[in-house]
């Protein structure tokens, strides 16, 4: 019980901090992509003479603009919290919390390492190990859209209303696609438990290729990527927001409530990155790393203690997740936005049928292989 709480705390802490850092990553990466310097004006300088060495240490942080997330937080928390006079006060307040909560609880099912042994106790590095983890994540992600819809409807504004409307149909279209895309993975590894799926990806194909999801479900991966980015509501799928068209479902939000919607986007980005890593890129698997050390296919073996193995696994998982975050950020700053009906067309007439075909073909191959 206690370990679960500790692990939940650790996961929550890292996710929220990474999401906070995402605001900085977004600013800096877009700046690098666009030949700019990026935000670097949030400076912390201590006024006292004795603080000179601290100031010296703060210098690079100031120059990189790393205090901007903090400045953002201060701004968000101190801004007026405005509720439109003819809106629904309760739902208006509830919406951002729903949005945020359901995005965060999804992380409970993500395994970020194998078994850690402390003093003879075996701890599985996953907040809640459940055998329906995948269904659970989809359920939570689907619930998350209620926040957006409520925000749109409770604001009593036409712009927010259109945003909520778009969000609900977009989520409907892409949740289903997301589900069918991943059934292929479930078939291949024979489990809905993410920890089991990751362990299954540690097997070797032909004795030397790690059997990662992307190798057995290449089409599924790209379909998942397309549908997964839609889940994050960011460009090119930012129809519910569409800042130059309808401003978005959070038109009538200000202060930290707006901040929570803003934050949810980043949390969802991280969640989709985690899912992509877990399902298609071997999760915490490091190639040829087993529970007691490296076993290379050419026969060499390196024995490692349990702690080193776990650290390597968590490191690999973090690295993969960050790579996906980088990829999503690059996509976000490269592509223009879809139009609403084109998005629906792509979802229902493009990705969804292909994912069904993918599913059928996978099932047939598995049947033939016995």
């Amino acid at each position: 019980m206690l370990t679960t709480f500790i692990m939940a705390g650790i996961v929550l802490f890292s996710v929220i901090n990474l999401a906070g850092l995402h605001t900085w990553i977004e600013r800096k990466q877009s700046a690098v992509m666009q030949d700019r310097i990026g935000a670097n004006r949030a400076h912390v300088v201590l006024p006292w003479k004795w603080a000179a060495p601290i100031n010296w240490l703060l210098k690079p942080i100031n120059a990189l603009g790393l205090f901007h997330p903090v400045a953002d937080a201060i701004k968000m928390f101190t801004k007026e919290d405005y509720i439109p006079p003819y809106g629904d006060k309760l739902l208006h307040t509830l919406a951002p919390f729903l949005s945020m909560t359901f995005a965060l609880v999804g992380f409970a099912a993500i395994p970020f390492g194998d078994v850690l042994v402390i003093g003879g106790r075996e701890i599985t590095l996953q907040v809640a190990s459940m055998n329906v983890a995948m269904l659970y994540i989809f359920a939570m992600a689907s619930m998350g859209v209620y926040g957006v819809i409520l925000a749109g409807f409770a604001s009593n504004s036409n712009y927010a209303f259109l945003g909520g409307l778009r969000a609900s149909s977009q989520m409907l279209a892409y949740e289903i696609t997301l589900g069918t895309t991943l059934i292929g993975i479930v078939l291949v590894y024979g489990s809905l438990d993410l920890q089991e799926i990751v362990r299954g990806q540690g097997k070797l194909l032909f004795g030397w290729i790690p059997m990662w999801g992307i190798l057995v479900q290449p089409l599924g991966f790209f379909l998942f990527l397309a549908a997964g980015i839609a889940e994050t509501k960011r460009i090119p799928y930012d129809m519910p927001e569409g800042e130059s068209e309808i401003i978005g479902y959070f038109t009538e939000y200000s202060g930290m409530k707006f901040g929570m919607f803003y934050f949810t986007d980043f949390v969802e980005t991280i969640l989709v990155a985690c899912l992509a890593t877990t399902l298609f890129f071997g999760g915490w698997q490091v190639p040829y790393l087993a529970a007691n050390g490296f076993h290379f296919p050419w026969g060499a073996e390196v024995a490692l203690p349990n702690l080193a193995v776990v650290i390597l696994q968590i490191g690999a998982f973090t690295f993969k997740v960050l790579s996906f975050c980088w990829l999503f950020m690059t996509i976000r700053w490269t592509l223009p936005r879809f139009r609403y009906d084109q998005l629906m067309e792509l979802g229902w007439k493009g990705i969804f049928p292909i994912s069904l075909v993918n599913l059928v073909v996978t099932a047939m191959i598995l049947l033939m292989l016995g």
Binding site: S30, Q34, I235, I246, I247, T334, F338, R339, Y340, D341
Partner: protein, 445 residues
């Protein structure tokens, strides 16, 4: 386009603007929506009305030039040129060859900045923010070039009646070529990023369609008209300045949709750069302002002559220019009779340093002085970045125009906008409106 559905009686009114991220400038579009589809729109303009035309009636001919900067604030040099050409036509003047070439170069550079802004802003509104910043980077380089020539980035007031304020800086040609090269690089980058991007093409193709007949009926000109396949360009149809000396093409589209307008603008930038390069090759030496006597006199003296109304003999006269800005390097009042002093604009340093200069300046800007063209009326069109930019000036022989009327190119397009938007979706309003390239200053004047 999907057929307009009128099955549902309930529709939603969405008030887009006047403060809305996509309504650059200030304009209001009231859209009646059936779901996402636009049933009808009402375009409301006038939020940026500054009474330019009325202002022009209150001020002398030379004092209108700074106001023209504020018309199309993305390509102010074209406005300057258009106004000065109209006044020169009223006077029966023809400026010097070098001044003509300089005006052409500056006009074409302005056209590039205008198109860069328009295409970049449209792309940004479609979510491609990176494209916008790439284009603004290129625009910034051209702005720096313009700043070197005129001394200002936006409110430049570069042209004078009978020429331009100052000659090009010494190393202009090489710098200009270098910047055009960089600009081409940016355009290539943008082209690779979006022209064949499926999302971008889908967002623009077959959206905001206007037929040839409609475009002509509304009086639409510029890239908007050319996208329908009509190759009307004032530079070709009624060549002014020295446009007939250059080899350039007029890019036209086929379908009259947003994507064709994007392509036409991209091609036009290339053509404009070609014109600039040819002009840099061919530009002759000589003065950039006219003189009444046919003697070589300085640019500022020319202005003085014009201000005294002695303009009928200015035609085709050679004049020398001052490499510095107007009048800063010459003796004061050298060729002006004391009796006419009240009619000339003394150099700024004189105005600021001596009581006599200050008094003279004061008297020049007072009502009842200044330059006096003959009675009559003129219309002079130039090819602005958005289309035909015309100045219609009526003179009653006094020092102030009786009437100055501007034909702003985007005004007529805004009139047709409601028709173009009908039947598209809400999200299409943004790229269509972006392709109009509405400039508030020019539209509402």
């Amino acid at each position: 386009m999907p057929e307009l559905k009128k099955t549902r009686k309930e529709s939603m009114l969405l008030n887009i603007g006047p403060t809305h991220p996509a309504m650059h400038g200030i304009v209001r579009i009231i859209a009646e929506l059936d779901g996402e589809e636009v049933v009808d729109t009402d375009v409301e303009i006038g939020y940026l009305h500054r009474a330019f035309e009325k202002h022009a009636e209150q001020d002398g001919y030379l004092q209108v030039i700074p106001y023209t900067d504020r018309l199309n604030y993305v390509s102010p040099l074209i406005n300057n040129t258009g106004y000065c050409l109209a006044v020169e036509k009223l006077f029966g003047l023809e400026t010097t060859e070098r001044a003509k070439y300089i005006r052409v170069i500056m006009n074409e550079l302005s056209r590039v900045t205008d198109h860069l802004t328009c295409v970049g802003a449209s792309a940004m509104e479609l979510g491609a923010f990176t494209v916008f910043l790439y284009m603004i980077k290129a625009r910034e380089m051209i702005y720096q070039l313009i700043e070197e020539v005129t001394g200002a980035r936006l409110t430049i007031s570069y042209t004078r009646i009978g020429g331009v304020k100052a000659d090009l800086p010494p190393d202009f040609a090489s710098k200009c070529r270098e910047i055009l090269g960089e600009c081409r690089g940016v355009l290539k980058e943008v082209d690779q990023l979006v022209t064949r991007n499926r999302i971008f093409v889908d967002r623009l193709k077959d959206i905001g369609v206007i037929s040839q007949a409609d475009a002509v009926a509304y009086g639409i000109t510029g890239p908007f008209l050319r996208s329908t396949g009509i190759d009307y360009d004032v530079r070709r149809a009624a060549p002014y300045l020295v446009y007939d000396h250059f080899d350039f093409e007029i890019p036209v589209g086929e379908h009259g949709d947003n994507f064709d307008r994007y392509l036409v603008r991209m091609d036009e930038m290339e053509q404009s750069m070609r014109i600039v390069e040819q002009a840099l090759d061919k530009i002759p030496g000589g003065p950039v302002l006219l003189d009444t006597q046919g003697n070589e006199i300085s640019a500022a003296d020319m202005v003085d002559e014009a201000k005294m109304g002695r303009v009928t003999g200015l035609c085709g006269k050679s004049a020398s220019t001052d490499p510095t800005l107007e009048g800063s390097g010459r003796g004061i009042y050298e060729k002006i009779e004391s009796g006419n002093k009240e009619a000339m604009m003394p150099p700024k340093e004189m105005t600021y340093s001596s009581i006599e200069g200050l008094m003279n300046h004061f008297k020049t800007v007072m009502v009842g002085h200044g330059i006096r063209p003959p009675k009559g009326e003129v219309y002079f069109p130039v090819e602005g970045a958005n289309g035909e930019l015309g100045f219609y000036i009526v003179s009653d022989g006094t020092d102030r125009p009786y009437r100055v009327r501007v034909r702003p190119p985007c005004f007529v397009i805004m009139a047709a906008l409601s028709k173009i938007l009908k039947g598209d979706t809400l999200a299409d309003i943004v790229p269509t409106f972006g392709s109009v390239n509405m400039i508030g200053g020019e539209l509402d004047r």
